[in-house]
Symmetry: D2
Subunit: 360 residues, 4 copies
Amino acid sequence: MNSFGRRLRLTTFGESHGPAVGAVVDGCPSGLALDARDIQAEMDKRRPGQSAVTSGRSEPDLVEILSGVFEGKTTGMPIAMMVRNVDADSSAYLEIKDLLRPGHADYGYLAKYGFRDYRGGGRSSGRETAGRVMGGAVAKKLLSLKGVHVYAHTTSIYDVRAGEVALEDVIKNTYTNPVRCADLSVEKEMEEAIRMAKAEGDSVGGTVEIIAIGVPAGLGEPVFGKLDADLAGALMSIGAVKGVEVGLGFGAASLRGSEMNDEFLIDNGIKTRTNHAGGILGGISTGMPIVCKVAVKPTPSISKPQHTVNVETKEDAVITIRGRHDPSIVPRIVPVVEAMAALVLADHMLLSGKIGPPAP
Amino acid sequence: MNSFGRRLRLTTFGESHGPAVGAVVDGCPSGLALDARDIQAEMDKRRPGQSAVTSGRSEPDLVEILSGVFEGKTTGMPIAMMVRNVDADSSAYLEIKDLLRPGHADYGYLAKYGFRDYRGGGRSSGRETAGRVMGGAVAKKLLSLKGVHVYAHTTSIYDVRAGEVALEDVIKNTYTNPVRCADLSVEKEMEEAIRMAKAEGDSVGGTVEIIAIGVPAGLGEPVFGKLDADLAGALMSIGAVKGVEVGLGFGAASLRGSEMNDEFLIDNGIKTRTNHAGGILGGISTGMPIVCKVAVKPTPSISKPQHTVNVETKEDAVITIRGRHDPSIVPRIVPVVEAMAALVLADHMLLSGKIGPPAP
Amino acid sequence: MNSFGRRLRLTTFGESHGPAVGAVVDGCPSGLALDARDIQAEMDKRRPGQSAVTSGRSEPDLVEILSGVFEGKTTGMPIAMMVRNVDADSSAYLEIKDLLRPGHADYGYLAKYGFRDYRGGGRSSGRETAGRVMGGAVAKKLLSLKGVHVYAHTTSIYDVRAGEVALEDVIKNTYTNPVRCADLSVEKEMEEAIRMAKAEGDSVGGTVEIIAIGVPAGLGEPVFGKLDADLAGALMSIGAVKGVEVGLGFGAASLRGSEMNDEFLIDNGIKTRTNHAGGILGGISTGMPIVCKVAVKPTPSISKPQHTVNVETKEDAVITIRGRHDPSIVPRIVPVVEAMAALVLADHMLLSGKIGPPAP
Amino acid sequence: MNSFGRRLRLTTFGESHGPAVGAVVDGCPSGLALDARDIQAEMDKRRPGQSAVTSGRSEPDLVEILSGVFEGKTTGMPIAMMVRNVDADSSAYLEIKDLLRPGHADYGYLAKYGFRDYRGGGRSSGRETAGRVMGGAVAKKLLSLKGVHVYAHTTSIYDVRAGEVALEDVIKNTYTNPVRCADLSVEKEMEEAIRMAKAEGDSVGGTVEIIAIGVPAGLGEPVFGKLDADLAGALMSIGAVKGVEVGLGFGAASLRGSEMNDEFLIDNGIKTRTNHAGGILGGISTGMPIVCKVAVKPTPSISKPQHTVNVETKEDAVITIRGRHDPSIVPRIVPVVEAMAALVLADHMLLSGKIGPPAP
C-alpha cells in the first residue's frame, strides 16, 4: 500500500524522524537520461525552511540515487533514491505523545497499529511526500520526452482567490514567490493571510489547480482505471487534500447539458471549443489540457490550545502543539500535486503504449 | 482495468447493447448467506424505466448467480452474476455512428481503440454500472454483518438544493421518490427541474451525498491505499462524476485550522465533537460516520442540436441525439454511488481483518 | 486470486456442479478477429467423454461469448465467456460427503473455508480448467498474429515414455489420439497403461512437454516477473501438476557449466547452438524455442478402497470413490497446459510492447 | 516487477556494481521485534568470500535499516534496508563487454533494454539476491512467532547425492559446512566436486530441498494463488533455478494413484500417513510439512574458453571469463531459497488471517 501505479510503480518509505526517506521507481524504461540533479530540482521546490510562510525545519534533502542508472541513463531496473533526515527534533513531541492531535491521523494509526510513532507524526507526516516528489521527478522527465508537462499553482489561500491566469503565467510565475501563486496581483495578500493566521497560532487552507498539457487523446482505461479516477485517487492520497475536481467539477452539478457539453470542432485535428470536461470524457483523455483542482485543508498543527483526549488516562485534556509547522500546507503541496499528477500520466502513457520500450 | 478492489475484487463485463452485463466478485469470505434476491433488490433501485424522470428503456434486469453460492451460502469461490440485455435498440445510434457525441467518451475510445462500439456507447454507457451494483450488493451484505451501512441521497438537482436532513430521513425517504431525495420538501421541485430540462431537449446535473455508519476506527492503508483515496478513485470512476469531496471538502479550503479541526472527546469511547473531516483523518477512519459528496454532470445525451465532427469525413457537423436517455443521471446514480462506497469499505474491512476468515 | 496475468488478465469462475463455468479476459487489444468457434475449438480438445481413457461425464461445453466482441472483432473491453454445466450428477458425492478423499483438496478447503462444496470437488475440480482453456484460446489467437505458437504433448504415461519427436510430429500427431502423444510408436502402449490402471480401479500419472515457437528475444521482467517464474507459477497452478522444468530442468543439476551452457553463434541473427536453457536465460527469452515440462500426478479419485477420516465423527474410515473420473489426467491436461503457457506468453508480449495497441 | 508478494510485499533494488543493493518490505504488521541483527544473521549466510568453494569477492554486507522500525519494533510502515557495495571491481568486465556470456542473461537484456549494464551482470547478477535475503529475514521473524520455520539444504552437487536426513540434522548441520549439506557423510565429497570443477575452469550444479514445518492447514488461494503455484513462481524466479518439485514431484509421474495418494488418519488431529504431496493438495496446505526441491544449474561463468558472439561486430568470437565467481551457486543459493519460501509462506499466513493485525 506504499506502492502506487501500474506500469510506472512508485514505492516510498521513511518517517518524519527516522533515518531517511526515499523512493523506488520501478518500470521506468531504459535509456532515459537521468541524474541526481533532475531529482534535486524537484525536491528543492518542496524543501522546508525556505520562507516565513513555511516550517522552520531545515533539511538539505540531498538526493542520492542508489540504483537503476548507469552511465547517466536509466537501465530499466528499479531506481532507488533517498535523502537522509538531518534536522529531526522529536523533543516537542515527547510531551504530547499521549494526546491525540486534532485533525491528525494519530487516532487512526493507534486504532490500526496498536501504537504509533509519535515523533512528528511518523509516516503520516508531510515529510512522507518527499518520496512522492522523487518519484514524480522521474515521471516528469519521462513525460517531457513526449511533450507532456504538468504544472500546479495556488488558486486560493483562505479567502484570497487568484484570478484566471494564462498558462504562460503559471509557468513563469508560480515558483517565483513563496505561496506558489501565478497571479502576482494577489500573491502578497496570500502571504499576508498566512502570516496573520500564524501570528494567531492558527493556520489556513486553500486550493491548487493542476494543468497538464500535451497529453494525447486516448489515455485512460475503462472502467476502473479511468484517467480521472486514477488522478482523483492519487491526489486524494496526499495528506490534507479533502476534495478533487476535474474540469468544472462541482460547478457542473448546477448546469444543463447544453451548457456543460464541450462541442467538437476541426481545428488542426479534433478539438473541443470549450474544455469544461477538463480534458477527460468517460475517463479517457480527449487531447485537450487536463485540468484538475484540489482542496487543501488548513494545517492541523496549530499552537492554539485545543480540547482532546489523553489515550493513556482515557480522559479529556487540552493540547498545545509546539514544534515547527507550516502555517499553510498549500505552498509546499504544489510540487507534490505536480508529482502525483505526473506519476499518473506517465503510468497511463506507458499503459497506452504512448511511451514504449526502447527501439531494438 | 475492469477489476476493482484488493481483497474483495470486482470484475465487471458487458456493453449496453451486447448480450449481457455481469460481474464476478472474488474474495468474498465463505459462509455469507446470499441469494439472487439480495442482488435483485439493489438492481431494482437502479433499474431504468421506473418513472418519467428516467430513461424509457425497459430492462427487467433479472439477476442470475452463476457460481460461488452453495446451499444458500457463499463458498469463498468467485461469485459470478449476470443479467441479459433485453430491450437494447441500436437503431437510433446507427444514423449518428460517425458523429462524436459532445460530452461522451466517443472520441477517447476511438483514439484509444481504433474503432468503437457505437451502439449506446458500448461499454462507456451507464449500463456498465449494473455490474457495479451487483458487486455492491455483495459488499453491502457483507458489511451489514458488522453493522456497517452505506446510504446515498440526492442533495441537489440543477439549482434545487436539499436542506440538511437527519440520517433517519435519509434511510426512510430516499427510495420513496423518483429523484432519490431525502428532503421531501424539495423533492417535487427537483422532479420539476428535470421535467423542464427534458421538455427543452436538455438535461441537468446535481450532487449526491454518501453516508456510511458503523465504520470502525482504523480502516485505511498508508500512504497510497488511504480510505479517502480509494473512495475518491472509486467514485470518480463512475461515469458523469466530476468531483469528490470528503467531509467539508472544498469548504475546508477557506477555513482556519481552529475552525476545521475536530476536537476529540470521551463519549462512550473516543469521538470527535464535530465531523468536518468526514470520518477520515490521514487516510484512516476515525470511527465517526464517513461522509462524502460527488458532483454529477448533466447527461451529455441531449436532443438539442449540437456542433460536432464527423470522424469519417473529418468535417464539422451537427448532431441531434435521439434514443432513450435519462434527462438527469442523478437519481439513477444514487445506488451506484452506494455500491462503489460499499465495495471500498468492505475491501478495507477485509484488509484490516475487521471481517475475517470463517472461524475454523 | 481467481485472476491471473498482468496485462492480459484472466478471471475464471464456476464449480464442477454449479450452473456454469466461465472466464473473463481483460486487456485483450481491440481489433482481434474472434468468435465463439475460436474458443470452441480449444474447448473441444479438453472436453470430457471423448474416449475410453477419459471420464464418462458428457458435457457439450457450448461456449457463449457474453461481451467484448462487436462485429466479429474484439473491442478492447472484457471478453466474458461461459459454458453451462449440463451433465453434473452429484449423487455419488452425497454418500462420501463427510469423508476426505485422499490426494484431493478436501481437507485444505475445509480447514480454510469452514465447509466445502462436496459435489465433485466444487471449484477444486478439474472442471475449473474450462475457464483456463477459454482464456487460453484468446491468448493463442493473439499470439498467432505475431507468429507465436504453443504446443504441448504427452511425453510419458506411467512407465511408458515417448521418444524424442520432431516439432512437425508434435503439431501433426498430438490431437490425433486419445492420449495426446506425438510419438505414435508408443501411443497404444500409453492407452493400454491407462486401461490397465482403470481396470484395477486405479489411475496413472505422466509428463507433458510444452514447446513455444516464434517467441522473440527479450520477453520477461526482472526480477520477480521472469518469464520462467511466471510459467512455473502458471503451470503449477494447474491441479495435479507437481513439478515444472525449464529446458534441461533437473538434468542441469548434475552437469558442469561447460556442458550446460548454450554457446552463441551467428545464424541468421543471434542463436544458440544448443537449447539446454529451454529458451530462457536470466528469466528473459533468448529467441530460441521455449521448452518446459510438467509432472502430472495420477488422478487421486480411484475406486480402490482407501483409508481416510470422517470429518464429522472424527474417526478413521474407509472410502470407495464412485463417480466418473479420468483414469489419467494427463491427456486432458495437455490443452490446459497449452492454455496457461499461451496466457503467460501473451501477457509478456503485451508487457514488452511486442503486441501493441491498435494503430491510430 | 521488482516487487513480490500480495500482503507482505518485497521490492528489491540494486545492481552488482552499483552503489548499493536493498529492499523495501511493505505489509509487515506492527509490533514485531526487529533490529538490524536479525537481518544481518541471514545476510551472513549468503555472504561471498567465506570459503574456497565460493566467490573471492569480499563484501561486508552491513545492513542498515532506514525505516519502519521504532523503539525496536516494526510500526506497520515499510521497512527499507540496504547494504553498500564495497568490493565491486568492474575491470574484468570491460574487456568482454561486447561479448555475450553463454548461459547468462546478457542477450535477453540487450534485446529488451537496448543496452546493458555489463558490470558483473548488473541486476541479473546473483548479487540481486541480497535484497531477497533481507526480505526473507523479516518473513522468517514473522513466521517464527507462529511456530513456522523454513529450512533448506543441499541435496546434491554434480554427481554427489546426499542420503535421506532427519529434520534435526538439517537444522543442526546445514550451516556448519561450506556446501550447506545436512548429510555430513557426503559433505567432503561435495566440496571436492566443486574444487575439481574449479580447478578445470569449470562449474557444477546441484539440488536443494526446502522443508517448512509448523505450516497450518488451509494456506493457499484457489485457483491462481495456490500455495504450490506461488512457491514455484518464487523459486523459479531465483537465477540459476531450472526446475521446481513439490513433494514427489517428477517421481509422481510414474506412479499409480494408489501409490501416490496420502491416506488420512486421526493422529492428534487430521494427518496423512505419508507425505508424497509435500504438504499441499489442490494448492492448499494440509498441515503436513511443506517439502519442495529445486534444480540449480552450474554457474554459467566459467574460465574455459567458449564460443560466442560479439554484439558490436556481429561476428562469432571466443570468450574467456575472468572475474570472481562461485564455482557452484548451490551453497550460496540455500539461504536465498529459504528466503523466498519464507516470503511466500508469510504472505499466505497474512492472506489467510493466520497472522493477524495487532490486537486493539
